[in-house]
Amino acid sequence: MTPQARAAAAAVGPMKITKVEAVRFRTDLRIQGLAPNWFWVRLTTDQGIVGHGESYPGTEAHRGALKEIAPLLLGKDPTRIDRLWQDIFYRISYQPWGGADFRMLTAINIAQWDILGKASGLPVYKLLGGKAQEKLLVYNTMNGWPINGMREHTHPEQLAEFLLKRGITAIKIYPYDRGPINALARHGGTFISQAELKQSLDPVQRIRKAAGDDMEIALDLSSRWNLPCSMQIARSLEPYGIMFFEDPMLPDNLSAYASLARETSIPICISERLASRFRFREMFEQHAVDVVMYDVTWCGGISEAKKISDMADTYKIPSSPHTGGGPILWFSSIHTATALTNFYIMESVYHLYNDMYPHFIENVPVPVNGYVTAPEAPGLGVELRQEALRSGDAVIEPIAAL
């Protein structure tokens, strides 16, 4: 070993987790009228390195689950990423696993990657395989995040113009559970009439008319529909060159998705509602999907996301990470996606990177001409805004310590 290599190895030498903390946010805090809805996990090591992880929403269940899992972390080497993942996973899979328990495992995994990156002096994407993508193409999700008061069903033309001006060439909209038609609210996802099918197309048609083929359109259906409604909706969208059709049904019957995927030429995308490589494997094997979406702060963490994408690659299925959560999700997704050979397009939300994240983070990556790039600082490279901690907007809560 060269002296440099030995010094580097020493830096990542034995390390112990000495403290587990939660970071929560003032419940009455509003940024542009919206509340931060995430939750951070902070791992401190005996070498003074601090790693941050995240999941959401910021619930009591997460805090409770973290208290249950924290004793498994104290004294452990945070760089043993896969081992600790498996130990926690086995602990929580004596019972039906998932939910808050699994999301805390996810947040812990992200904090471990942050620590490994800081200890080795490398940005996380370099530990995941390096720069497979120079920059990441993003789309903008509307959902409950209007831009300057413009919503998808009130100002579809102006929204398309606003995004195109900034070089953002793809948008995700929710015509079936938002707006004046809201067929979901009328029938609860069990039925859709011919009139509702036609009227729900309004924002799609208006964006196409205003922006032509310059704007890609994805649709999200929030997993509330049954199989025949999903088929009818997909059929009605066939003429519009849809980028992907996301989550029409709950992903708890992948044969139903396989039936839908056979019926339509629109690429099917599911689902940030799934977690672990085990569940995604089944989805690939069933030919139930064309584009894979996961949420790095729900699916089991950065490790699990990478494993899922690498497996998807063997089916020629590309990855489109879900990022509609907090800032560490945004950073973690950028690192993960940068290292993916089968990257497709990544979610982004104008309100979040423009208004919400900068309240907490100094160096938020912002799309330039429709692309974001990964930060080069070690670990996740997140620079917390100390003012948010000083002001009481963010509150550190002790969970467990050696």
């Binding site: 269940a61 805090r63 409770g64 019972q95 939910g99 808050a100 569940r279």
Partner: protein, 415 residues
């Protein structure tokens, strides 16, 4: 204007319905959840009784109070900080609801938690809420729970004893005390047991460890022949080749079932195992919801199903799972190694379902642990237990728990 229930009965129904039915309809009038309480237990409770390791309460309770005065109690375990946290998240939407709207409330919560991978603490607390709702429905209708689940398909429910070192019978250990355990059970008419003969540091089970574990079973068969049914549980720890070798080693012994030989996360691996061996494969209290079980039925990946009523989505979900399993001729063997309400509620379920095989029980729990919390714990007679006849779950929860400081009550939502 929508006619109210009362005016509808008055106008359209009064002429047709007999007075007794009208009275019943009045009784079944509107009901609202007014308060949601979390009940946890002091950490230093010592039940005693020679369990070998386990002692206090690993479970927690959810109590739903209604404006009619009825109180329903549900249960789950074992990570109550996460579970009560989840209860705090969900309880505000429960307050004001009619607790008898069982499937609607279940579906709304399931959709909500499915936004981000249902399961874990969220699913466990939904299970507890569902149990409390059914407890209220039973009390409101004056019927024991099993009557609401389809009635008395069998008067008595056969049990096996889960025999482990930490829930031991009078500190007896498997291995050194295998035959003392077996005789103790047979003397009480209990003719089935579940054991954990195989363990390894990782996913591979060595030939030596495999043989050492099989020796327990050989000894039982040599000494008492086929008088004792034997189920083997592996806690989901092995890889496929080790699971295949375990099944092969068990072939000669007429095993009741082999449970959780691998993690439950690959239905095809289980289909391979089930296709290769004549040992019935049992899956798994680590599943929740009919959606997860369905896949195993379709793929011929299991022969017996196990669920835990306080984990799988609650009694109403368990009933749906059993009914679906029945269409595949797959019988049910519920997991009950939790708290007393799980045990009582499981007896109700097993009394009613058409495809019952055998129910789990644990001597230390029903002899020492459950009676610490509940007065009327059914104990096996001739290896069988019967459901209580009181309305709802019918648990006589000890009032002194709430005076002694053993039970810690926290109100998490209120109208």
């Amino acid at each position: 204007m929508q006619p109210s229930r009362r005016s509808f009965l008055g106008q359209a129904g009064a002429a047709m319905l007999p007075a007794s039915l009208l009275a019943a309809a009045e009784q079944a009038g509107p009901m609202k959840i007014t308060r949601v309480d979390a009940v946890t237990f002091r950490k230093d409770i010592h039940v005693g009784g020679g369990s070998g390791g386990s002692d206090g309460a690993e479970f927690c309770w959810v109590r739903l109070h209604t404006d009619t005065g009825l109180i329903g109690t549900g249960e789950t375990y074992p990570f109550h900080q996460g579970e009560i946290g989840a209860l705090k998240d969900y309880a505000p939407t429960l307050a004001g609801k009619d607790p008898r709207d069982i499937d609607g409330i279940w579906r709304a919560f399931y959709h909500r938690m499915s936004m981000r991978n249902a399961g874990g603490a969220d699913m466990r607390i939904l299970s507890a809420i569902n149990m409390a709702q059914l407890d209220i429905l039973g009390q409101a209708s004056g019927l024991p729970l099993y009557r609401l689940l389809g009635g008395k398909t069998r008067p008595r429910v056969r049990v096996y004893n889960t025999t482990t070192d930490y829930w031991a019978i009078n500190e007896m250990k498997m291995g050194p005390d295998t035959m003392r355990n077996v005789q103790f059970l047979l003397d009480r008419g209990i003719t089935a047991m579940k054991i954990y003969p195989f363990s390894a540091p990782d996913h591979y089970l060595s030939n030596e460890a495999l043989d050492r574990g099989t020796q327990w079973i050989r000894e039982i068969r040599d000494k008492v022949g086929m008088k004792m049914d034997i189920a083997v549980d592996c806690w989901g720890r092995f890889d496929l080749p080790s699971a295949q070798r375990i099944a092969k080693a068990l072939e000669p012994y007429n095993i009741l079932y082999l449970e959780d030989a691998m993690l439950m996360n690959n239905v095809k691996a289980y289909a391979i195992l089930a296709g290769e061996t004549s040992v019935p494969i049992c899956m798994s209290e680590t599943f929740a919801t009919r959606y997860e079980y369905r896949d195993f039925f379709e793929s011929k990946a299991c022969d017996v199903i196990m669920y835990d009523l306080t984990w799988c989505g609650g009694p109403s979900e368990a009933k749906k799972i059993s009914d679906m399993a029945d269409t595949y001729f797959i019988p049910t063997s519920p997991h009950t190694c939790g708290g007393p309400l799980l045990y009582l509620c499981s007896i109700h379920m097993c009394t009613a379902i058409s495809n019952f095989l055998i129910m789990e029980s644990n001597y230390w729990k029903y002899t020492h642990q459950y009676p610490y919390f509940v007065n009327n714990v059914p104990k096996p007679v001739d290896g069988r237990v019967s459901a209580p006849e009181a309305p709802g779950i019918g648990a006589e929860i000890k009032p002194e728990l709430f005076r002694s400081g053993d039970a810690i009550v926290e109100t998490v939502a209120k109208v």
